[in-house]
């Protein structure tokens, strides 16, 4: 299939923009017949033919004719030079065909399952394709989580449920003793589910399959006759594989998105206006109100562009520049101070409320509620600060805002993790950590989805019924997406401690989609600023990648350095979690040569050397790309010069030929009249291409007769006579 991709680019570079006035079918057929790879009589070429015809800009009926013509030519040629296809080649063709048909089948079936199709169309119709970027991101995360759910549930939770069912039946045969009851009471676990438990994750849930503590550390046989199913190994391997594969998927998506939005558009800082003009109208808008708003926003964008262009460049004078730098510095320092104080405040709060005795009551939620409300509040604070700073470009303001919010989230999560990992627990610390994370996730849902939706609804109600001056709420894509990143980070951190957390998060994402969509359509007004979606999307994927990387490093530390609790969980019996892997699976002892090599390779010096090498390679690639940019600039100037040369030469030709008598058919010279085959073969240099497209010569209308020289180009301009309009196709 790489042939098709290469062919696509070939067709768009030297294919011609054929207007519907030309005699298309024969011309196109002839052009296509020149390409050898299309005209062979095997299924691969047929696919290439179909792809080529699909990508042509013609009406369907013309495409049908072309296809019929080509098919006829192919059969004609293959009959004339028929040779039998070898068996090997036949196998190769059929395998490629089956592969491509399979891929097509998979794609068709996937489009049937496109989640939320109707909702996305509604959102796009009202607000355009930009806002649906947030919902697409949500959908991507949801699909990722669902895959994790399937694996974790199937390999880890489901066997455990079956096993505990078997175990309970065995237990009922023997009597329940007193000690069991007291130990269970100590762990704050109960038999019935109470309403508080849904939020705190304690009580009924402590001894349930939701958390780490419930999983047994034995291998058991589920079906008699089959071999033993070792739950600890399954738990460990499933979780580790999920982490690694998610990491790979996220990094691949990030790399692809980066390539599309940054590299291929070469930063895209230039050509701002052309993009604004040609790419700003969203063809997906289907609604009058949205269309009016879009027109208004385009108008405002253009006005703003004009004012920026006409404004003098930046803060003039040393004093102004100093002042603006000082302003930025103060803002950064203020933000950092705020974040530090919030971290400190969180630490104090944890000292106060993080103790075990609070856990079954509502006071367990104080920490989570405070952190979430703080994050929501400070979004508005940061937005206010950045508006005060008055950045020259709105995209800079957006990115800086994003980084500040992300930093705040990271600090809070870091403080929480640090506290929990260093606290002294009575028992089962893994379950406790899992419960804390469960609380955070549930409270985050309540605060940033439900509470925010209520806030937006009330603002809408006030606007409609009481006071028009309070504006309708806006849907802030960046803050919402950042919330998704935060949620995902929590999930990844908690997956080790609570396997079924992914089910909770998947349900939460599902509900979030619908609630956000409803609040967007009914309560919000569209954003007034146009938003460069693809670059910020890349930034979000980078943030997701960074969080996942941080989580994996932390888990690496936990697995290797923190001792496992002795009374609960699937890793009982080992000191550290990784020992299960090493001794159980790889059957390695500490003195083994592999272990020695591994501990040598992970020494800081080696890792440092590796990072240094990567830095050098990156520097080299960057230097190369800078050289390419300079080359592009040079080529652009050459293009300009070429155009001027061409004009000069054509003008001279017309001057010369006008002086002579016309003895021969001018049409034949211009290539307008000739037999179809001759046109190509008698003029192999290709000037017959320069037949029908017009070309304006720098501002002068081609038909004018007066002698007028244009804005100083040094070349002589001769006026064109009416009969001869020298037209050129693209060059």
């Amino acid at each position: 299939m790489s042939q098709i991709i290469r062919f696509h680019s070939a067709l768009s570079i030297d294919g011609d923009l054929i207007t519907s006035t030309a005699s298309d079918v024969e011309q196109i057929t002839q052009e296509l017949e020149q390409r050898e790879q299309l005209m062979e009589d095997n299924p691969l070429s047929e696919q290439l033919r179909i792809e080529a015809i699909k990508s042509m800009a013609q009406t369907l009926s013309i495409k049908r004719q072309i296809r019929a013509n080509l098919a006829r030519t192919v059969t004609r040629r293959s009959v004339s030079r028929s040779k039998p296809i070898s068996l090997l080649r036949k196998c190769r063709y059929s395998s490629k065909m089956y592969a491509s048909q399979f891929v097509k089948l998979v794609k068709t079936s996937l489009t049937n399952f496109e989640l939320f199709y109707g909702s996305m169309k509604e959102v796009e119709g009202h607000f355009g394709n930009r806002i649906s970027a947030y919902f697409k991101f949500l959908r991507w995360l949801l699909v990722l989580n669902l895959v994790v759910v399937i694996f974790v549930f199937w390999f880890v939770s489901f066997p455990q449920i079956l096993y505990s069912g078997m175990e309970r039946r065995l237990e009922q045969v023997s009597s329940e003793d007193e000690q069991n009851i007291t130990t269970r009471a100590m762990r704050n676990s109960r038999d019935e589910l109470s309403f508080t438990d849904l939020f705190t994750g304690e009580g009924y849930f402590t001894e349930s399959v939701l958390f780490y503590g419930f999983y047994s550390n034995v291998s058991f046989t589920l079906l008699p006759g089959t071999s033993e199913y070792s739950l600890p190994h399954a738990y460990f391997l499933t979780v580790i594989i999920m982490y690694l594969s998610t990491f790979v998927i996220v990094s691949l998506s990030m790399a692809r998105s980066y390539r599309i939005s940054f590299i291929e558009t070469s930063g895209a800082v230039q050509n701002v206006l052309t993009h604004k003009i040609f790419c700003s109208w969203d063809f997906g808008i289907a609604n009058e109100k949205a269309a009016h708003l879009k027109h208004a926003s385009i108008y405002h964008e253009l006005r703003e562009y004009l004012s920026v262009i006409n404004r003098p460049d930046g803060p003039v004078g040393r004093w102004n520049r100093l002042r603006s730098t000082a302003l930025h510095m103060t803002a950064h320092l203020a933000v950092l101070a705020m974040i530090a104080s919030i971290a400190f405040g969180t630490w104090m709060l944890l000292q106060q409320f993080g103790q075990t005795e609070h856990f079954t009551t509502w006071s367990a939620l104080y920490v989570s509620i405070t952190t979430n409300v703080t994050m929501l509040f400070f979004q508005y604070v940061f937005r206010f600060i950045s508006r005060m700073e008055d950045y020259r470009r709105p995209s800079t303001a957006l990115n800086i805002n994003l980084m500040r919010n992300f930093l705040l989230q990271l600090c809070i999560v870091g403080v929480l993790m640090f506290y929990w990992l260093n606290k002294a627990y009575d028992h089962c610390w893994e379950t406790s950590v899992g419960q804390e994370i469960y609380r955070l996730i549930v409270i985050d849902f309540v605060v940033s989805v439900l509470f925010l939706a209520c806030l937006q609804a009330s603002r809408y109600a006030i606007n409609r019924f009481y006071n028009r001056s309070i504006s309708l709420p806006e849907f802030c894509i960046t803050n919402n997406s950042l919330g998704l990143v935060y949620n995902q980070t929590l999930l990844w951190f908690g997956l080790l401690f609570s396997p079924l957390l992914c089910v909770v998060v998947a349900a939460k994402l599902f509900l979030t989609f619908y609630i956000k969509k409803l609040s967007l359509i009914y309560f919000c007004k569209p954003q007034s600023k146009l938003w460069r979606s693809s670059q910020t999307q890349t930034l979000f994927l980078v943030l997701v990648f960074v969080s996942l990387f941080g989580v994996i490093i932390t888990h690496g530390y936990i697995i290797t350095q923190i001792p496992v609790s002795e009374e609960c969980g699937p890793f009982r019996g080992n000191t550290y979690m990784y020992q299960l892997f090493m001794e159980g699976i790889l059957k390695l002892q500490e003195e083994h040569i592999f272990w020695k090599i591994f501990s040598y390779v992970t020494k800081p010096a080696i890792i440092g050397g590796l990072l240094l090498t990567m830095g050098v390679v990156t520097y080299y690639l960057r230097a190369k790309s800078k050289a390419q940019i300079a080359k592009v600039k040079l080529l652009k100037e050459m293009l300009c010069m070429e155009a001027k040369d061409k004009e000069f030469l054509l003008a001279n030709i017309s001057k010369i030929t006008r002086g002579k008598e016309w003895n021969f058919d001018r049409d034949l010279l211009n290539g307008r009249k000739s037999s179809t085959a001759d046109k190509y073969y008698s003029d192999p240099s290709g000037t017959w291409r320069y037949a029908d497209s017009p070309r304006k010569i720098s501002g002068i209308s081609v038909l004018r007769d007066e002698d007028e020289s244009p804005t100083g180009s040094g070349y002589q301009r001769i006026d064109e006579c009416n009969e001869e309009r020298v037209r050129m196709r693209r060059f």
């Binding site: 696509h8 680019s9 067709l11 768009s12 923009l17 179909i50 015809i53 699909k54 990508s55 800009a57 009406t59 369907l60 009926s61 495409k63 049908r64 296809r67 068709t108 489009t111 049937n112 996305m120 394709n129 930009r130 970027a133 599309i260 558009t265 895209a268 230039q270 050509n271 206006l273 052309t274 993009h275 003009i277 040609f278 790419c279 700003s280 109208w281 063809f283 997906g284 808008i285 609604n287 949205a290 269309a291 009016h292 027109h295 385009i298 108008y299 253009l302 004009l306 693809s534 652009k636 293009l639 300009c640 155009a643 497209s693 017009p694 304006k696 010569i697 720098s698 693209r730 060059f731």
Partner: protein, 185 residues
């Protein structure tokens, strides 16, 4: 759904699938939407030609400032009347599966108001006026300044108009174009 299916034979669907970027299911869905514009006429003849006014009832085209240009570009009879095949062609180009080059080529034709294969100053002026809508009009000097800036950015050979090569060059560098130039079926 059975009634719609009986209007198309298997070969016709395969034919359409080969010539557009749609699957058979999407083609039937497109026909359903086409029929919704004029149920009786399309019921008689599944490939009926609908006038431009009827086509502009389609929600995305009705609010689109370039709706009439779209109809003219995709019309096989060049007068704005759209048959089902033209409609299919149109939706196929606007769909997700169409590559950027195909979209760019059609976008060029849509923006080329006078049909001379170049986007000249008049074309750009009309584009800008249609984009801002007739309620919010920029004044003449502003529009001229915008046009000069566009030509400065995009016109590589300095001939005062954008040829297809230059237009495609600009579009290649924009990552937002595919997102904007899309209509979900």
């Amino acid at each position: 759904m059975g009634q719609v299916k009986s209007q198309f034979s298997e070969e016709e669907l395969q034919d359409y699938e080969d010539l557009t970027y749609f699957t058979k299911k999407e083609i039937l869905f497109a026909h359903k939407k086409f029929k919704a514009l004029a149920p009786e006429k399309v019921g008689h003849n599944k490939n009926a030609r609908l006038s431009m006014n009827k086509i502009l009832q389609y929600p995305e085209l009705r609010v689109n400032p370039f709706g009439d240009r779209i109809c003219k570009v995709f019309s096989s009879s060049n007068n704005g009347e759209i048959s089902f095949e033209d409609f299919l062609d149109m939706m196929s180009v606007f769909s997700d599966a169409a590559p950027k080059s195909v979209k760019a080529e059609h976008a060029f034709r849509i923006f080329d108001f006078d049909g001379d294969d170049m986007i000249g100053k008049n074309d750009l002026k009309q584009v800008i006026q249609r984009l801002t809508g007739y309620n919010n009009a920029l004044n003449e000097s502003d529009i001229d300044q915008l046009i000069t800036n566009i030509l400065e950015e995009a016109d590589l050979d300095d001939d005062g108009a954008l040829s297809f090569a230059e237009f495609e060059h600009i579009i290649d560098k924009s990552s937002d174009f595919t997102n904007s130039f899309r209509i979900r079926l």
